[in-house]
């Protein structure tokens, strides 16, 4: 326990640790090197000890077990995490901006009266506080913020740190909450999986992604034609799915799919961090957007500042001409 330590909330996805956990551990190691503290990984839920070998980047792995942590619900998770943070008094608690992170990070900050920063991309010590670089306004603005008090609750943007091979002491401690966790008024009932039968966009080599810049449902058809010409499928950003123009199985990003196609052609997609999270590792990204400052151009290999509605027919013709 030390005010120089950095705590990382580890999350699982399926039977494995979520990729973002390794990014947070890399961030934690970098920060702990300058504060001179240790990196603590916290796992909430039964069987957490099984993940300990994969958490070797941490110095201490705190696995908290309680039947109420078997499936996610906010109150038991926030209470269990609060107990660990209060006991360990770290300089910072790093929590990924995931579905769970968006609940527990602010709930923890509110209960501990601790500072919270969202959209965090980089952290460094600043006296006894921290300086945080954070992205907001859909990735169009960056803020340097000073966080004065400890523990700082930092909601980290996935993709901000690269996992390193660096290891820590990797000592496992298994704990139970001091008192059994209260169930709270909000309880997990069941998982709802997407309906089978639609195209699996994670298996496509070519994806034509449409964003709000596509403007109307009818225009999705133009993207479909391009996808057909290239032997791929159409996927979308969240607002297109929210409009009901494409099913949720076609959404790319934080709450959609993570894709790594050979080609990702982004048409009228701004490239908000939540979208980039699902597509930034595509082999070839070509972005078309009328706004030269759209963040999608930061991850694209090629870009064009042009109206998608003009480009789509022209591209259809150019591809047809190449096919002969």
């Amino acid at each position: 326990m030390s005010a120089q330590d950095v705590l990382v909330l580890a999350e699982t996805r399926g039977d494995a640790l979520a990729d973002v956990t390794f990014e947070l551990l890399a961030a934690g190691r970098e920060l702990a090197r300058t504060t001179g503290g240790q990196v603590l990984a916290v796992l909430l839920g039964p069987g957490g000890a099984a993940y300990a070998p994969a958490l070797a980047a941490a110095d201490r792995i705190i696995a908290v077990d309680d039947p109420r942590l078997a499936e996610y619900s906010p109150e038991p998770f926030a209470s269990a995490l609060r107990e660990v943070v209060e006991a360990e008094q770290p300089r910072a608690a790093l929590i990924a901006a995931t579905s769970i992170g968006w609940d527990v990070a602010p709930l923890l900050a509110a209960r501990l009266d601790a500072p919270l920063a969202t959209g965090c991309q980089a952290i460094c010590p600043d006296g006894d506080g921290l300086m945080v670089t954070a992205s907001f306004c859909g990735g169009k603005m960056t803020a340097e913020c000073r966080v004065a008090a400890s523990p700082a609750i930092l909601m980290m943007l996935p993709g901000s740190y690269r996992p390193t091979g660096e290891t820590g002491k990797g000592e496992l401690e298994q704990r139970s909450p001091a008192a059994p966790l209260e169930p709270g008024a909000i309880a997990f009932e069941q998982w709802i999986y997407p309906e089978a039968g639609d195209v699996d966009i994670t298996q496509q080599d070519v994806l034509i992604a449409v964003g709000r810049g596509i403007q109307q449902q009818d225009n999705v058809e133009l993207a479909e034609e391009l996808a057909q010409a290239l032997g791929g499928a159409v996927c979308a950003s969240r607002p297109v799915v929210d409009q009901g123009w494409l099913p949720a199985t076609r959404q790319v990003g934080k709450s959609g799919m993570t894709v790594k196609p050979k080609l990702y052609l982004a048409l009228g997609v701004s490239g908000a961090p939540e979208h980039q999270e699902g597509m930034k590792d595509a082999e070839l990204i070509i972005a078309v957007n009328t706004d030269p400052k759209a963040p999608i151009f930061d991850v694209a290999h090629y870009g064009a500042e042009v109206d998608v509605l003009d480009l789509m027919p022209a591209l259809g013709e150019a591809i047809a001409a190449r096919k002969g």
């Binding site: 499936e71 619900s73 000073r146 080599d205 064009a304 591809i319």
Partner: protein, 257 residues
């Protein structure tokens, strides 16, 4: 069900964002404002719940960023009451500070369900919704897409989004605060004539709640736009030239078969 919805105005990202000369804040005088997207979904979800199960929808907003238009639109869509909180300064308080004032305005409304957008893109200490839940001492769950009446009276079933288009159905005992990401249906369109009608008939209620800055836990020292496109090679020319170049790149990579 007695539902309260919080709506906030945020800078429109279609317009260029400007920074004040001191470099530590957005120049809000230069910004144009729109309704925060997830708050729009929160309003839609509230209206859908009212339509299916009865009750009332009260919209609460801080008087900032041309909010009146948004509030008249909410009334035209079917909100029953509109409560406005005065904002004396040029800038609204940060998410965390504003939670206290929203809580003060909402407490007397005896809400069974409070719906707030899970994120506003101008927040740096974000998650107004969980901070509001803490201030109201109510349970909270966020990242919700879709809410229905629950199986038991006094409950709702809320779907929480997880990666891979997977959702968790959560049973929520009321009263509670939910952070909405998406409604069961896209926000409804309302014709301008109905908004004009609402302007004539809607009376805003003024809340007695007052804004107060809390302890400064997070201070912005500098704002800047991220470095301009560092990676993309920009293609220029007419649409036909750009299309031709893209087709050429795809052919080089063996993607045109």
């Amino acid at each position: 069900m007695n539902i309260v919805v919080v709506v906030r105005q945020v800078p429109d990202l279609i317009e260029p964002l400007e920074i004040v000369p001191s470099g530590d804040a957005l120049d809000l005088d230069a910004a144009s404002f729109i309704l925060n997207e997830s708050d729009d979904h929160a309003l839609e979800q509230a209206l859908l719940l009212k339509e299916s199960g009865g009750g009332s929808v009260t919209v609460v907003a801080i008087d900032f960023g041309d909010v009146d238009n948004t509030l008249y639109t909410a009334a035209a869509k079917g909100a029953d009451r509109i409560v406005k909180i005065a904002c004396d300064g040029d800038t609204p308080p940060a998410a965390r500070d504003s939670a206290a004032v929203y809580a003060e305005a909402i407490k007397p409304l005896r809400a069974e369900l409070v719906l707030v957008g899970v994120q506003a893109h101008d927040e740096l200490d974000g998650g107004l919704s969980p901070f509001l839940a803490a201030a109201l001492e109510l349970p909270y769950v966020g990242v919700i897409r879709g809410v229905k009446a629950g199986d038991a009276p006094g409950t709702v079933a809320a779907c929480k989004e997880f990666p891979g288009a997977v959702m968790a159905r959560m049973n929520v005992k009321l009263p509670a605060v939910l952070g909405i990401l998406g409604a069961d249906q896209p926000p409804r369109y309302v014709p301008v004539s109905r908004i004009r009608g609402a302007m004539k008939t809607t009376q805003f209620e003024e809340s007695a709640a007052t804004l107060a800055a809390g302890e400064l836990l997070l201070s912005v020292s500098r704002l800047y736009p991220p470095a301009p496109a560092t990676r993309a090679e920009m293609l220029s020319g007419s649409e036909e030239e750009i299309a031709g170049r893209i087709a050429e790149i795809l052919a080089e990579k063996g993607l045109v078969k």
